[in-house]
């Protein structure tokens, strides 16, 4: 009897293509996507990907210049010493970096780490604690916990290399063991989130919220499939309301639902985890409305693509989890390779996450949200057009 039941179950699985896809194809797809992101192809930990560092040499001494040169030659870092071009605001392109400008670049997210070699640093180089008290300063963004440590380590190596290149001018014989010593003293200062009790909450709240409303919109969009099965969709379309009106109604509902869900989540974060929602309301409102609009339209596309609830469930799991793995909800984008970081921008969620981070983490002005808002509205329009096109199958045949 039990054998009969097992046999019947296998027969049914063999004849159910959607169940087979869920059972075998989706796991393979996930494995492949995560392997690309976390494996050798995309992780910043690999040698082909370098940490961005804004370097400021305030000393200008031969020793500090030698150290700066060693740092710039280091394959583990991408060192910038002048300001990058910024559209519409900020200092002009090509200006030599100062401590303040380096800090600004870290705050803006241009680089995760700023490294300042203060005046008098030459007295401390290769002193191993016996020399002056001047320390190198590492300015870092705590949302990237790895970058500052990587730079601190590379700083030691490059100090030894610089000393070696100057032929022992700093008191080190060429060929010494660099790992046995710490040649440069340094201190670290977080330039973002330092005043918050739980600084990383804002970062993770945004990631989870974006992923959650994508799942939610996909699920709620499935109401279209249920209405097809129950006949209410047919009945609604028989009335004066056309398919465009129907989709707009659904989209507006899903948008308000997603807004409500994000609000509930952030209020919870504010009450329980001290998320600074009250002080960032305008930016939060702008990002939430734009993200919800895009997520709602995205949900309609998935629902319009699916014939059954089961299909929708499989498709939503695959697409939403993949986009979120790539978009930074599960694994910060700054830890991915630059190629993957660029690739992740094909998903609207990466733009949404960037926008929330600008609001809560970088405390950027509202005008700085323009690229994210523009991208999200563009995605929304694209998704709505696509959903309308796919929904033609429900129209008169």
């Amino acid at each position: 009897m039990i054998g009969l039941l097992i046999g019947n179950s296998w027969k049914q699985l063999r004849r159910d293509r959607a169940a087979q896809v869920l059972a075998f194809v989706v796991p393979i797809a996930f494995f492949s996507i995560f392997a690309v992101i976390f494996g050798g192809g995309g992780n910043r930990m690999d040698s082909t990907n370098r940490v961005g560092v804004a370097l400021v040499d305030e000393s200008g001494s031969p020793q500090s210049r030698a150290l700066a040169a060693a740092l710039q030659a280091d394959s583990g870092m991408r060192v910038v010493t002048v300001t990058p071009p910024v559209r519409g605001q900020g200092p002009a392109s090509g200006q030599a970096l100062t401590r303040a400008l380096a800090e600004q670049m870290v705050k803006r997210g241009d680089v995760p780490v700023g490294l300042v070699l203060p005046a008098g640093i030459e007295s401390s180089l290769m002193s191993f604690g016996r020399g002056g008290g001047v320390k190198a300063l590492i300015l870092h963004d705590p949302s990237d916990p790895v970058a500052a440590r990587v730079v601190a380590g590379l700083l030691q190596r490059d100090a030894l290399r610089a000393a070696a290149s100057t032929g022992g001018a700093m008191g080190l014989a060429p060929g010494g063991d660099p790992d046995a010593m710490l040649p440069v003293r340094f201190e670290q200062r977080a330039v973002l989130g330092e005043k918050r009790e739980s600084p990383m909450v804002a970062f993770y709240a945004a990631g989870i919220a974006v992923m959650f409303i994508m799942f939610s919109a996909a699920g709620a969009g499935g109401a279209l499939i249920e209405e097809t099965e129950s006949g209410t969709l047919e009945r609604v379309l028989t009335s004066g309301l056309g398919m465009t009106g129907l989709l707009l109604g659904k989209w507006l509902y899903l948008t308000t639902l997603a807004c409500a869900q994000v609000c509930v989540m952030f209020v919870w974060g504010m009450l329980v985890f001290k998320l600074p929602l009250a002080s960032h309301l305008p930016g939060f409102a702008i990002m939430t409305v734009c993200t919800a609009a895009a997520a709602a339209a995205f949900g309609l596309v998935l629902a319009s693509l699916s014939r059954t609830r089961q299909q929708l469930s499989g498709l939503a799991n695959l697409v939403v989890l993949s986009l979120n793995a790539l978009g930074g909800s599960m694994f910060p984008r700054f830890l991915m390779s630059e190629t993957l970081q660029r690739a992740s921008l094909v998903g609207f969620n990466a733009w949404a996450l960037d926008g929330y981070l600008k609001v809560f983490w970088r405390e950027a002005p509202l005008a700085a949200l323009a690229p994210q808002v523009g991208a999200l509205l563009g995605f929304t329009a694209l998704f709505l057009l696509l959903a309308r096109r796919l929904a033609r199958r429900w129209e008169a045949v």
Binding site: R235, G242, V397
Partner: protein
């Protein structure tokens, strides 16, 4: 003028022809039954009238106006075969939703909703969610949602499927009320006895064509089943057929499956029935019961469409 006129409707779904030159008309206040085997094209026709199917050829006119897909049909009400209701909304909320979708608002919407709740016998359940309703209650509400905006023509796709006799009776009472108010009804059903009892005219559809149309006597005529069917129960069974000494079946009769039953078909009851009875008497057979009736719609339907399964 006919309320609804369908001329040479043709619709293909890929290589399958669902409608193959079907024509019919429906008069003011008429209840027209649309019968046919599964897959005959009934639902496609209903969907074509409601604008959900584009015909490859032919026309659908309502009050003389040709209907195009996607154009609103305020004079048309559709009651689908499924209970197309929102289960988590109350009866009142469902009525208000479909009323508004069909152009009702304000005081008129409130009045029509109140009327519908009374009409369906659901006034005391107005605030209950539909998911808790019985099959019959959902059927009645499904009907009300389709007629709330007072359409002149209502299409009913199997409106009594899956409900008990009491609910079925109630639904036909409701339809009678609509007809009394001048509404024309086009009804599809597989319950032939219902169609026979309730519909003024019947159209039988098969393979996408209307193969017969008219009142039941007209259909009987068209099916070649004219005349009265006489069924006689004998006071004793006839002898077995293979018995050489058995009493022969009297001339003009056919033996039924039951050895006590004989049947015959006559055209003039007054003249032919006494002759039949006299023949039995002379054969020494007594009659314990007698039934005279015309051919049933079931017999007509099977005569016209055959007994072969269609699916």
């Amino acid at each position: 003028m006919a309320v609804l006129e369908i001329r040479d409707a043709r619709k293909d779904f890929g290589s399958t022809r669902a409608l193959d030159g079907l024509s019919l008309s429906l008069g003011e206040g008429e209840l027209l039954g649309l019968l046919g085997p599964n897959g005959a094209g009934k639902t496609t026709l209903i969907r074509a009238i409601s604008g959900r199917v584009r015909l490859n050829a032919g026309t659908v006119t309502l009050y003389g106006r040709t209907l195009e897909p996607g154009v609103p049909r305020p004079n048309l009400g559709v009651v689908p075969q499924e209970n197309a209701l929102y289960p988590l909304l109350t009866a009142r909320e469902n009525l208000e939703t479909f009323g508004q979708l069909n152009g009702l608002d304000g005081k008129h919407l409130r009045e029509r909703t109140a009327w519908a709740l009374e009409w369906t016998g659901l006034a005391d359940r107005a605030k209950s969610q539909v998911r808790a309703f019985s099959g019959g209650m959902k059927r009645r509400l499904n009907l009300a949602c389709g007629v709330l905006h007072e359409p002149k023509l209502v299409l009913l796709d199997e409106p009594t499927v899956g409900v008990d006799p009491q609910s079925r009776e109630k639904i036909y009472d409701m339809l009678g009320g609509l007809r009394a108010a001048g509404t024309s009804l086009l009804l599809t059903t597989h319950y032939l006895e219902e169609a026979e009892a309730r519909c003024e005219r019947i159209v039988i559809v098969d393979r996408g064509r209307a193969i017969a149309a008219g009142t039941l006597p007209e259909l009987v005529e068209q099916a070649g089943l004219a005349g009265r069917r006489v069924r006689l129960s004998l006071d004793r069974p006839l002898a077995e057929r293979d018995n050489a000494h058995a009493t022969a079946t009297p001339a003009g009769f056919t033996r039924g499956d039951d050895a006590r039953v004989l049947t015959a078909t006559i055209t003039n009851v007054a003249h032919e029935l006494p002759e039949l009875l006299a023949r039995l008497q002379s054969a020494g057979l007594g009659v314990s019961d007698l039934e005279v009736r015309t051919a049933s719609l079931q017999a007509v339907f099977l005569a016209l469409t055959g007994k072969d399964l269609r699916e």
